[in-house]
């Protein structure tokens, strides 16, 4: 070989040179394409000028998109809701804690046998006082890792460097603030009040005009026709459980002192101007900007989330969607991840204007619970809306951008929404 390597003469032919030149051109062209796609993210618009939400990423995420992730998630939740034998619980939970880095000393119960299942342990509370609340304007709503943060540029939120998604798609706002809002919507079933595209849904099986729904008059109407619910925030709900509460309501009427306290923190008077969020798109004051932050909760983390500030939740929008993993690995590869996945957008206001918190579900953690909203059901088997709307792998799901909405105007007569203090527990994520 050495001899042949040294003595064999090299002969150059025209064909390899041409192929090589073509390869160089192709590589250069590909580089330019990549640079272009990073500088200007491709945004496909439909006939109405709204962005088409599609699965974007390498072949591996398309393979994932072909899997029945929602069914897998529900099966995972069912398996983890099975009661474990008492003798196995301490050992099993300690093994889980060791693998995923849970701090068992912070758990509410030192006696691990009190957690009946892995799902129960996963949704554990913490001991009082182990999470002091900072006095800063914005505090962390959860234990986890800060994936990304920054300012919203051009109504797009950056997922990772060079990859962004539409704020309208995330929160369900219209593409344009000037979108007409005078449609009348009727609902056949209050539990399945899905309204397509940018329209709104409410409950009670009553026809609401959109103007009524989002205007000042909507509060009194829903207040009069809504029986209060009686949520129990200490227990995760089981799949398929139904309640008769039609509009979300706190378990006990919020005390006036609590409302007043939040009102003082929010910096608003009871007869406040709700123009910032009763419109369907946040109207930003000239001296303000829109900021965003993304916090990822790992499997071993405490999985309840708390209020990141003093604010008033005026409405929630539930987007039924896929349940891809939201790990940093996937977030860096799957475009539109946070607008494809099932999520609950809680919209409201704080002392500086618009405020929203959006818990996003994932394959293993598909159920999102809200302490002040027993009506909310996430990760349910769905057969409605078949057609997918071009979402790519969205079999049987409503088209992206579709949501059900509930308003919390009856939660507090004083503030016109559900008031929350900084650090107050809001809800959590459950397995499956």
């Amino acid at each position: 070989l050495a001899h042949a390597w040294r003595t064999t003469p090299t002969k150059w032919y025209p064909l390899p040179l041409i192929v090589g030149a073509l390869l160089l051109v192709a590589i250069n062209f590909r580089k330019q394409q990549r640079r272009h796609s990073k500088d200007e993210p491709h945004v496909q618009l439909d006939d109405n000028g709204r962005e088409v939400i599609r699965l974007k990423g390498p072949w591996s995420v398309h393979v994932l998109g072909a899997l029945p992730l929602r069914n897998m998630s529900r099966l995972w939740g069912y398996l983890n809701s099975l009661e474990l034998p008492v003798w196995f619980r301490p050992t099993g939970f300690r093994i889980y804690a060791f693998i995923f880095g849970c701090n068992l000393e912070e758990a509410e119960f030192d006696d691990l046998t009190r957690y009946k299942s892995l799902g129960d342990f996963f949704y554990r509370r913490l001991k009082d006082g182990v999470r002091p609340i900072d006095t800063a304007l914005l505090v962390s709503p959860a234990d986890g890792k800060v994936l990304h943060f920054g300012t919203v540029q051009g109504m797009r939120v950056e997922q990772v460097k060079g990859m962004s998604y539409s704020l309208d798609a995330l929160l369900g706002s219209p593409a344009s603030p000037s979108t007409p809002t005078s449609q009348t919507i009727s609902f056949e079933n209050r539990d399945h009040a899905i309204v397509h595209d940018r329209e709104f849904a409410n409950v009670n099986g009553i026809e609401y005009s959109l103007n009524q729904l989002i205007g000042a008059s909507s509060a009194s109407k829903s207040n009069q026709e809504t029986p209060p619910g009686t949520p129990d925030d200490s227990q995760p709900r089981k799949h398929g459980e139904q309640t008769d509460a039609s509009i979300p309501h706190p378990d006990t009427p919020p005390s006036l002192s609590h409302d007043a306290s939040v009102a003082a923190s929010v910096g608003l008077r009871p007869s406040l101007d709700r123009s910032s969020t009763t419109s369907t798109s946040p109207q930003i004051k000239p001296q303000n900007r829109l900021f965003f932050a993304v916090i990822y909760l790992a499997p071993g983390d405490y999985h309840r989330f708390h209020s990141p500030s003093a604010w008033v939740v005026e409405k929630r929008r539930h987007f039924v969607g896929e349940l891809f993993s939201v790990s940093p690995y996937m977030a860096a590869r799957l475009g539109n991840l946070f607008v494809l996945n099932e999520r609950v957008a809680l919209l409201g206001r704080w002392r500086h204007g618009f405020f929203s918190t959006v818990p996003v579900g994932a394959t293993n953690v598909g159920s999102i619970l809200l302490n002040f909203d027993r009506e909310l059901r996430t990760n349910e088997r769905t057969t409605r809306g078949a057609g997918g709307g071009g979402g790519g792998g969205r079999r049987g799901l409503p088209p992206p951008g579709t949501f059900t909405e509930a308003v919390y105007s009856n939660a507090s007569a004083v503030l016109g929404g559900q008031p929350l203090k900084a650090g107050e527990e809001m809800g959590g994520f459950c397995l499956g």
């Binding site: 995330l170 993304v294 909760l297 500030s309 999102i368």
Partner: protein
């Protein structure tokens, strides 16, 4: 699971964290 916060704040608002940082409930994220 993930939590996305989107909020309006004065332009002077600054985050007190860095990407990849571990945070806990109630820990300072940002302030004016």
């Amino acid at each position: 699971s993930t939590i996305v916060l989107v909020f309006e704040a004065p332009k002077e608002f600054v985050f007190d964290v860095h990407a990849g940082q571990r945070v806990r409930v109630g820990q300072r994220l940002g302030d004016l």
